[in-house]
């Protein structure tokens, strides 16, 4: 499909491309809203966006197509993934609805809205189209055409969006940045404080008592079988990502004792029999 053609007409190839990629785009969109894990949603969305970039290209918006891939899929979606990682990549959402009737209302509104949009589009007399050939070639190309518009007709809006971006960047920094108001304490100072308080004078206990579970997020068990939160690092504790295996461990312990009891009993029986 030549660029010239794409500018003002649709070919059979484009139709094929539309139906195939359009299906994928809708599937990606559905995946975005239906996937339980945020990271999967993000990946589905990225796929949809790449397909949209292809559609931009097909519609003669070459600059936007590239920007879509570079900026949107490349930068914004990575930002999303970064935040997802920060918040907790493993945490899966429960898709069980908690608000009464929310899903029904959402479905009804969505359906109605979609039908209305479709009706509106169908109603509009959009039978003929001009194509972008003339517009794109007026300044020697799509990028030049856009540049001519942005720096002439839309220059004020352009400046405003620039200001907006700066403001957003500063705002994001303000929101997330936390000023450290005092000097970080050294190892020595921390040790001295521990001794002074008389609490946990030795280093904190290590997690992962059993070989099967020697991961950092599994607390060590105390002699009575209860887990000790102290054995898990502070960050995980605060995030609530401590895995509780005490029940499992206690069940294992019980099974072990039962087995040894049986073994011992059998031995005793054998002894008595031999006697």
């Amino acid at each position: 499909m030549s660029a010239e053609l794409a500018a003002y007409a649709t070919s059979g190839g484009e139709a094929f491309q539309f139906w195939v990629l359009g299906t994928v785009a809708v599937a990606g969109a559905l995946g975005t809203i239906l996937m339980r894990r945020a990271v999967h949603s993000a990946l589905c969305l990225a796929g949809t966006m790449i397909i949209l970039a292809v559609f931009y290209l097909a519609n003669g918006a070459y600059f936007l197509g590239i920007v879509q891939i570079v900026v949107y899929t490349g930068a914004i979606m990575m930002l999303f993934l970064f935040v997802v990682m920060l918040v907790g990549v493993t945490a899966a959402d429960s898709l069980k609805e908690t608000l009464k009737g929310q899903r029904w209302w959402a479905a009804a509104c969505g359906l109605g809205f979609g039908i209305l949009l479709a009706g509106g589009i169908g109603n509009a007399s959009l039978t003929e189209f001009v194509g972008l050939g003339a517009a794109n070639s007026a300044h020697g190309g799509n990028v030049e055409g856009l540049a001519a518009l942005i720096f002439t007709k839309y220059v004020f809006a352009f400046e405003m969006t620039g200001a907006l971006l700066i403001t957003a960047a500063v705002g994001a920094m303000v929101l997330t940045h936390r000023e450290r108001t005092e000097r970080a304490r050294t190892q020595r100072e921390l040790a001295e404080q521990r001794v002074r308080e008389g609490k946990h004078v030795p280093p904190l206990p290590a997690p992962g008592v059993y070989a099967r579970h020697n991961a950092v997020d599994i607390p060590g068990l105390l002699p009575d079988g209860t887990p000790s939160e102290l054995t898990v690092m502070q960050t995980l504790r605060k995030r609530g990502q401590v895995r509780d295996v005490s029940a499992e461990a206690l069940a294992d312990l019980k099974a072990l004792e039962q087995r040894s009891e049986e073994r011992l009993g059998r031995d005793r029986d054998e002894e008595e029999a031999t006697r």
Partner: protein, 631 residues
Amino acid sequence: MENLIALLVGAPLLGAAVLLCGGRRLDKVGHWVGTLLAAASFAIGLALFADMLGKSADDRALHQRLYTWIPVEGFQADIAFQLDQLSMTFVLLISGVGTLIHVYSIGYMEHDERRRRFFGYLNLFVAAMLLLVLADNYLLLYFGWEGVGLASYLLIGFWQHKPSAATAAKKAFLVNRVGDMGLSIAIMIMFTTFGTFTFGPVLAATGEASEGTLTAIGLMLLLAACGKSAQVPLQSWLGDAMEGPTPVSALIHAATMVTAGVYLIVRSADIFNAAPDAQTVVVVVGAVTLLFGAIVGCAKDDIKKALAGSTMSQIGYMILAAGLGPIGYVFAIMHLVTHGFFKAGLFLGAGSVMHGMNDEVDMRRYGGLRKYMPVTFVTFGLGYLAIIGFPGLSGFFSKDMIIEAAFAKGGTQGWILGSVTLLGAAITAYYMTRVMLMTFFGEKRWQADAEGHEPHPHESPKSMTIPMILLAFGSVFAGGIFGVGDRFVHWLEPVTGYAHGHPPISAAAVTSATVAVMVIGVGLAYLQYGRRPVPVVAPRGSLLTRAARRDLLQDDFNHAVFVRGGTHLTRSLVYVDHSLVDGVVNGTAASVGGLSGRLRKLQNGYARSYAVSMFGGTAVLIAATLLMRAV
């Protein structure tokens, strides 16, 4: 001379103001101030009377306009006085009897620490009553009318520490309000009909109004008269009003205020003349009250209440006479004046008896008092003879005239009215003889009261006996002075008009019949109370007696019909208020509250819920836009 008229009202009004505002420092002289100012009013009245006598009969009316109270175009309310023969009669009666009763009160109220206040109220009453009779328009008359009502209320409840007195005052005030409504409505009708309420123009214009309007005015005026003059059906307050000090009963509830109704009807003579239906009602009311009061008077053992029944009955005579039209107006007023003398005298006598008997009022505890208080006995006896119509005394002349006029009404009506008045005369003779016999004759029946004080009957001081003697003179001679040679008729004729009635039987026959029934009444009473000892405890009596002791069940009737009915009405109104009005109000509040409670659930704080609302709203907006475009 006109300028003196205001002074008639002004003198006692000044007295009331001084006495009521002056405070304790006037306690020592208050009664003299009050009496002197009442006497001053009487003196001015006499001067005006002398002046009036010197003029020709048609030229006697005086007018004085003080100022225009409400100077509005189409609504002129003047403070203006009119002194004609009718007003003059009342002025002399009110200020004269009033002065005597002031003097009497000096002695009677000697031991009351609130005597100054009492005199203040008395002066206030005299001023209001004079204003009532001197007013030259109905509105000012209404002012005086309310003024005497207020004074009456204050004086009935003068011993307000007694619950019975306070209740009686309230009752009198409330019942009077009903009548006052009538008067105010009558004035309103008058104003809408005639555009004024001054006597002259209104009474001159009665020919222009329809008979229906005049009947309405007449009936409303009659309602007012019923309230003030204790006529059926608004009679119930007068008996209880005897809770007031006896001078008050004598002045207000016997001689003057209760006759205001008669004055009102006679003053509005032209209206009643043009409304025969209203006149008929007036006659009926008078006749019914005449018998009603007389029957009640027969059964009461309380001397003041017996006299109160008598007052009611005698005013019934006057109202009846006033209802007869021009043949009766003059005699109504004449009986009013003579009644003022002898009934005031009787009340003062009763007060004197009570004064000597430790304020005992039960006649069954009197007996044989003539030896102990001879002056009281003689004056009371003369009043007694006057009221029963003993030939030659005042009551004889005035009552006989009324009976004659009743017969002269003509036809069946005349016969019925004549019989009723004759019957009334007989009953009057009966109950008055009963009072007389139980009080002054027979054995002494008094006992020690609860604290063991044996009453020591004694004659009252001079300040009390002298007014009684003077009133006794009035009782004896007033009728003769008025009646002989039709002097009173000629005196009043220019104001009220006069038509000589022609009874179907000769006047001499009527007079004989009157005397005969009087003798029968006296005889019956003598047989019942003179020949036999009077039991100290009242016998059970017949059904009628028992009913009469309860004032012929008037209070029971009022209670059953008005109080109970009113209570039920208010209860149902309260119910309606609670269930319907409050229901609507509370229901609105509750439904708004409930709706808000439901709506509040929408505000659940979940951003996604809000998002659904927004999304739905957007959908609706798009739908609306599309629809508008489609249309």
